[in-house]
Subunit: 227 residues, 2 copies
């Protein structure tokens, strides 16, 4: 359902060009569970932003569910993002002036849900990630790991068929990480597609396939032997 | 050089009281290397903010180098922060509109260094953390792990005698983490004091002592048997 062909992303800074992604071609089927790894600065978040329809490539093509995404306009990209993809950002990107409940409910506003239904569903996912007693806290009234879990809850609230999670356990202790990985497991078992960026081998080990980047290029793409 | 006695931090939200730290008493000597661990929300960042003179406790005392910090005013706290402590924030806290070089040089502005000397020193520490080729990038032109390293560089730029690092490797791949831990090792060997929050056992294993929190209280405080 995801196919990139010679995908490139280049940032231009004055006279300098940074080739964040270079001719990347990968294909991911429905219901796969993929871990994306690689050194700091190797292009993982850049790739995730392209896959998540948050950005467009400099060149190359990206086909998502038979739609040529790479040449869509902002409105079309937003439509796909809200209906099909749940994105957990590496830097959370929560709205600072509203509560965690309202942050998590935000995608449901775009989806046109009623007030009561939004509150119930947002409370349900916050409870799922262990933040039932933190719903009225604003982001700056939460710990780092709690903010990360609000970002995860927000990505799950619309029950998307594709989850893109960028370092979802980077700020979580072992026990809480296990709980979050269990949630991703359930999402995967329900038939959905999970792609997560991680630098921790223990977390990557939950995935069935591990894609490694280096300097914006594909370094390796192998099945997880332990599964 | 660090002694807290019955340290408490309580947040009041409407009718709810959150006891982030409850009667915490710990003592840390000069040149110790301590790892602070515990579940998400257990009070680690709250404690680090108090130790780093970024906040004052609700009750209890905090003595830093024979100074009773817990009842100092903002000006006195700022003085101590800038001269003695290097703080790596869990959420980086970089200024978004200036380059990484200027972000790292900022503490030297407060310290009264000349323009040329600031640039040289800031470039030196950015090079040390592997960002020599990213000095003119603003934070949003950097990867997550690169921003984390800018935050680390900024904490080191004044050569402080106490380093407080809150999850310094949360966004770093294994190889880059090893490089950062090597830097902390050198700082420790030079006679300084290092306190780092981490949820990764491999990172905590570099420390000589491991303090664990749970629900705002001290759960355990043990020597690292592997050292
Ligand atoms: N400004 C605030 N107002 C209300 N509650 C707060 C505030 N800041 C923190 N808290 C609460 O205090 C508790 C401790 O927070 P703290 O940030 O110290 O946790 P932590 O151990 O650093 O967690 P993590 O590992 O997730 O970063 C959390 O339960 C959090 O919700
Ligand atoms: N807006 C931008 N302008 C210029 N360069 C950028 C920009 N955004 C990212 N980069 C550069 O592109 C490269 C890839 O960045 P990316 O965020 O994809 O890395 P990453 O693999 O996610 O790293 P990390 O593991 O540290 O999060 C980095 O070297 C970064 O400096
Ligand atoms: Mg990244
Ligand atoms: Mg914290």
């Amino acid at each position: 359902i995801i196919r990139t062909t010679d995908l490139c992303k280049t940032y231009v800074m004055g006279s300098e060009k940074i080739h964040a992604l270079k001719d990347l071609s990968i294909a991911i089927k429905k219901n796969e569970y993929v871990a994306l790894m690689g050194p700091s600065g190797s292009g993982k978040s850049t790739l995730m932003n392209l896959l998540g329809c948050l950005d467009t490539p400099t060149s190359g093509s990206y086909i998502l569910n038979d739609n040529l995404v790479s040449n869509m306009d902002d409105a079309e990209l937003a439509e796909i993002r809200n209906s099909e993809i749940g994105f957990v950002f590496q830097t959370f990107n929560l709205l600072p002036r509203i509560s965690s409940l309202d942050n998590v409910a935000l995608p449901l506003v775009y989806a046109g849900w009623s007030n009561k239904k939004r509150e119930n569903r947002a409370a349900e996912v916050l409870d799922l990630v262990g933040l039932g007693n933190r719903m009225d806290h604003k982001p700056n009234e939460l710990s780092g790991g709690q903010r990360q879990r609000v970002a995860i809850a927000r990505a799950l609230v619309c029950n998307p068929s594709i989850i893109l999670a960028d370092e979802p356990t980077g700020n979580l202790d072992t026990k809480t990480s296990v709980e979050i990985m269990h949630i991703f497991e359930q999402i995967h078992n329900a038939g959905n597609t999970v792609i997560l960026v991680t630098h921790e081998p223990d977390i990557a080990d939950h995935a069935h396939r591990i894609i490694r980047l280096r300097d914006g290029e594909l370094e390796s793409d192998i099945k997880n032997q332990n599964i």
